[in-house]
């Protein structure tokens, strides 16, 4: 079983465990008011990060960073300390965001569920519907993609500063306005890219972005600035800023 599958399984189990704990309170005779007060005071993020099984699963997920690192572009040597710092920062940002998302979903669904007198299963379904396992896939793949992109960015330092990059990938009705803007901008240096969108060289169009920055060569494919302008015009998107 892959690290990601295990992680999603543990996520579902943790949701079930935490919901179960609340229903134990009902069984123990606590009133709705008492439970709601408890829920409002509880730091869900802290509870999630302290959950042993869940912690094990996300520690295993950390292994994916190692795999990503092994497979990333490597234009030049980077010091191990820098790599370690980037890895730790990316992991911390990712897990913090994940824990906040899960905590918000759990707290919201439990509160409304208890208020509405929903069953345990209804609450679990509510939590997993507001943060579905496939959305966790997206969170993980985007985090890893940003991680490799941040390493690439570091390695791009080894190339001349004014070398031009172009935004490559599909142009169609699904292409986000920001991606249309980046592609229609044509040739850009790395600092120009980051001037258009903060950290745009790494984060590109955001979650599940289908685009990549590439060095512009005569062989560069899937680079269609005219098509991007046309698509933007068709959809009434302003590319001025």
């Amino acid at each position: 079983m892959s690290e990601l599958v295990k992680f999603k399984k543990e996520y579902l189990l943790m949701v079930s465990r935490m919901t179960d704990q609340v229903f134990q309170l009902i069984k123990a005779g606590q009133t709705k008011d008492q439970i709601l007060e408890l829920l409002s005071k509880k730091d869900f993020k802290k509870v999630i990060l302290a959950d042993k099984e869940f912690k094990n699963a996300y520690n295993a997920l950390n292994g994916l960073y190692g795999k990503a690192l092994k497979n990333m572009d490597k234009f030049a040597d980077i010091s191990p300390n820098t790599l370690l710092a980037i890895t730790k920062m990316n992991q911390a940002t990712f897990f913090d965001k994940m824990a906040v998302d899960i905590a918000t979903s759990l707290k919201g669904n439990m509160t409304s569920g208890i208020l509405g007198g929903l069953s345990k299963n209804d609450i679990i379904n509510g939590v997993t519907a507001s943060l579905r396992p496939d959305q966790i896939d997206t969170l993980v793949t985007t985090a890893l993609s940003n991680y490799t992109a941040s390493i690439n960015s570091l390695m791009a330092d080894k190339l001349p500063k004014n070398v031009s990059y172009v935004y490559t990938g599909p142009v169609d009705k699904k292409t986000r306005p920001i991606c249309l803007q980046l592609m229609s901008s044509g040739q850009l240096t790395r600092s120009q890219i980051n001037g258009i969108v903060s950290n745009g060289f790494i984060e590109r169009g955001g979650f599940n972005c289908r685009h990549q920055w590439r060095l512009l060569t005569k062989q560069t494919q899937m680079f269609d600035p005219k098509g991007a302008k046309k698509e933007a015009k068709l959809r009434g998107i302003s590319l001025s800023g």
């Binding site: 795999k67 990503a68 092994k70 497979n71 990333m72 572009d73 490597k74 234009f75 030049a76 040597d77 793949t141 490799t148 690439n152 080894k158 190339l159 001349p160 500063k161 004014n162 070398v163 031009s164 990059y165 490559t168 990938g169 599909p170 142009v171 169609d172 009705k173 699904k174 040739q187 850009l188 240096t189 600092s191 120009q192 599940n208 289908r210 685009h211 990549q212 590439r214 060095l215 512009l216 060569t217 005569k218 062989q219 560069t220 494919q221 899937m222």
Partner: protein
Amino acid sequence: MAKPKPIDDMFDKLTTTQKMIKLGEEMIGLIIERTQRGYGVNGLFKEYSRKGLNPYWKRKQRGEGKAFKGQSEKHKPNSPRDVNLTLTSKMLSSLRVKGSTTADQVTIGMPGTEAIKANAQELQGRAMSTTAKPVTTMEEKFIAEFFGKEIKKAMKDASGRTRIVIG
């Protein structure tokens, strides 16, 4: 602010390692272009299966369902012969210069998750590149001619070591 300049225009000022990075990028471009035209390293890609009432190529053409979320509109097939290994384009876009590029070696490849997809296609008779034959003979000639003597020499020196990693 520095004006962006294509790497081609600063070729003479690049270090040999930087030239090798550019060579890798050119090779990636050639591979993507050829793949999207329907040609693998061993010739035309094997066409999609026509078996069943709802074969894969028809589902890809319609783009219905979760499997086709984020599908690139331009790369939908018109027939079972229309094989371009492009669904969202993430797999082909992930081709990268990787490994320690040196003055006499450049390696291109893709991250593990995307390499699995490429490998699955290879097992089905659609190899865009293999370790034994990374690029076609025409591509080799084109690159050698395009880069001129210096890189030609570098390629010669690297003979047997220049490789494309899939997986």
